[in-house]
């Protein structure tokens, strides 16, 4: 897929509950094709401690308004600087980068999309694409606390949403893998993105139940396009780049001890 280097215009940049922002970006040109699971490398200007670009997932693409959405957790200087951007400011992005979640096979009907924390970001785009294809995806979203649950209303537009919070402020208490839906319903394919321990627990559940499972990994990145080999992960075929061979991997290809 062709990659672009673009100056996009911020059309809105909203502070969400907790420590998150929802940034919408637009362009005079039609936004390029992007697939669910892909990401952008964002240049952060005016932050002396931010030397490299920052990888941010494609949260959603609204083709009607020609807007690209980012859902960003403010964890350090780079992301905090992004929160300062105002409507009309420009943001330089390289995109779309990486592979994408694979579409279900003809036998796979019941799809579970598991997101944890800001790892829910790519799940919205994935859910919308699956819904457009006629699926009724199930979302299972986990968070520390109610304030860390992001975009619930948006997810509800594309499927049933189940929630766990660690402090029981919303949905069921505990981790996503404890949620009762996993006992009630049989899924054919699981997609997940979130903290590594969560993804490993989900992968363990999937592999125990013989369910196909794709995970979206994080890693420290420099180039974002497979050129520097800084972002590798262990796979059965050796080191693979998370930025270009991933970020999405099928758990059967990883060397996870699950």
């Amino acid at each position: 897929m062709r990659k672009y280097l673009l100056d996009l215009t911020v059309s809105s940049n909203e502070k969400l509950s907790g420590n998150y922002i929802l940034m919408k970006l637009t362009s005079e040109e039609k936004l390029p094709e992007m697939l669910p699971g892909q990401f952008a490398e964002v240049r952060v200007d005016g932050s002396p401690s931010t030397f490299l670009r920052r990888p941010i997932s494609i949260h959603y693409v609204d083709r009607n308004t020609n807007e690209l959405w980012f859902l960003i957790q403010l964890v350090g200087d780079g992301t905090r600087k992004l929160a300062d951007l105002k409507k009309g400011d420009l943001l330089n992005v390289m995109l779309p980068l990486g592979n994408s979640f694979s579409m279900p096979t003809t036998e796979q009907k019941e799809l579970l999309l598991v997101g944890g924390g800001v790892g829910t970001a790519p799940m919205l785009m994935l859910g919308s694409v699956l819904k457009n294809l006629g699926f009724e995806p199930t979302f299972l979203l986990g968070a520390r606390s109610k304030k860390d649950l992001l975009q619930l209303d948006k997810f509800e537009a594309y499927g049933n949403v189940f929630v766990t919070t660690e402090d029981a402020t919303y949905g069921e208490k505990g981790f996503v893998t404890n949620h009762s839906i996993l006992k009630q319903k049989k899924f054919d394919k699981i997609y997940t993105c979130g903290p590594t321990p969560m993804m490993k627990a989900v992968a363990a559940y999937a592999s125990k139940n013989g369910i196909e499972c794709e995970v979206s990994l994080e890693n420290t990145m420099a180039c974002g396009i497979g050129a520097c080999l800084c972002c590798v992960t262990d796979t059965k075929e050796g080191h693979k780049c998370v930025c270009s061979d991933g970020p999405v991997f099928n758990i059967k290809d990883l060397k996870w001890q699950i």
Partner: protein, 304 residues
């Protein structure tokens, strides 16, 4: 338009901008962003005789105005390169150079010999300065005797343009450059990364899997520029300058300090079009100052 052509040994380049090994993949990774044939030269990934998995991750840490890497020469080996990658890139209309690494003199020689057989590779860059591998690598580049031994051996086996990439992790880089020149190198390139380290204070652990890694990016420019100046004064062969070049002004500084060509590394990650911008910016500088050719500024720093 000024004349941007420059020579490194028998190598003729349409402009003095090359890409630094390990930061530009095989060039293809950047072809959505720029026409890579407009670059003076593309130096591909560090290539070794055998497949190398490289170091475990994490391999990268950001630092003030720079980064540390600990990739450790991950590559599929020279035979894979020849069979699978070379055919894809060989007809790019620019110079494609291979960065040759090894753990023993024999490794270096064997790899260089295989590359010598490739018609479309006019030169190699011999990497005797990688700080991220346990054996060989930087060790060859930190003493005159070992640098001399590996370069003479490769020189015998390799007839095309031989550029030797020096390590900055030394007391006297000009001395090493002289040894390399005496051993028959056509050119030296410098600097490779500077050995550094990052710590995660909260976890009380190193950030990199290998504890130490190689520092690159804007932060190293003052050191690189000093070394290029010292080496250019010492040797007669052409010098290729790199280390922290982020824009055309930086590139001009290296040319003034005595570099006949420059390489761009880490800056490619921040702006994938930077090579083209730097080539254009060098031209603008020359025109603005009334120089006809880039050769008119090489080594023209006035220190008196």
């Amino acid at each position: 338009m000024a004349d941007l052509t420059t020579n490194i040994g028998k190598l003729v380049m349409k402009n003095p901008v090359m890409t630094a090994s390990g930061t530009f993949g095989y060039g293809e990774e950047f072809s959505d962003f720029i026409d890579i044939s407009k670059i003076g030269g593309i130096i591909v990934k560090g290539t070794t005789i055998k497949h190398r998995e490289g170091n475990p991750y994490p391999r990268m840490a950001e630092t003030p105005s720079g980064m540390l890497n600990a990739v450790g020469l991950q590559n599929k080996g020279v035979d894979y390169f020849i069979e699978h990658i070379y055919p894809r890139i060989k007809d790019t209309d620019t110079n494609i150079l291979v960065n040759v690494s090894g753990s023993t003199v024999a490794d270096y020689v064997a790899t260089a010999e295989k590359i010598a057989a490739l018609d479309h590779i006019p030169a190699i860059e011999l990497n005797i300065s990688c700080p991220n591998v346990k054996e060989g690598g930087m060790a060859f580049g930190t003493s005159c005797a070992s640098a001399e031994s590996v370069v003479s051996a490769v020189r015998k086996a390799y007839g095309k343009t031989l550029i030797v990439k020096l390590s900055p992790n030394v007391t006297n880089i000009a001395e090493i450059a002289l040894a390399v020149e005496a051993a028959g190198a056509d050119s030296v390139s410098l600097i490779n990364t500077i050995m550094g380290m990052a710590i995660n204070a909260e976890k009380r652990r190193p950030v990199l899997s290998t504890v130490t890694g190689g520092l690159s990016g804007a932060c190293v420019k003052p050191i690189a520029l000093r070394m290029v100046w010292q080496v250019a004064k010492a040797v007669k062969i052409p010098v290729v300058g790199l280390g922290g070049i982020m824009n055309a002004t930086d590139a001009v500084e290296f040319l003034l300090a005595g570099a006949s060509a420059i390489e761009i590394g880490t800056a490619n990650f921040i702006d994938p079009t930077i090579t083209i911008k730097v080539a254009e910016g060098i031209n603008d500088y020359l025109e603005r100052h009334g120089f006809k050719s880039v050769k008119d500024i090489i080594g023209q720093l006035e220190t008196a």
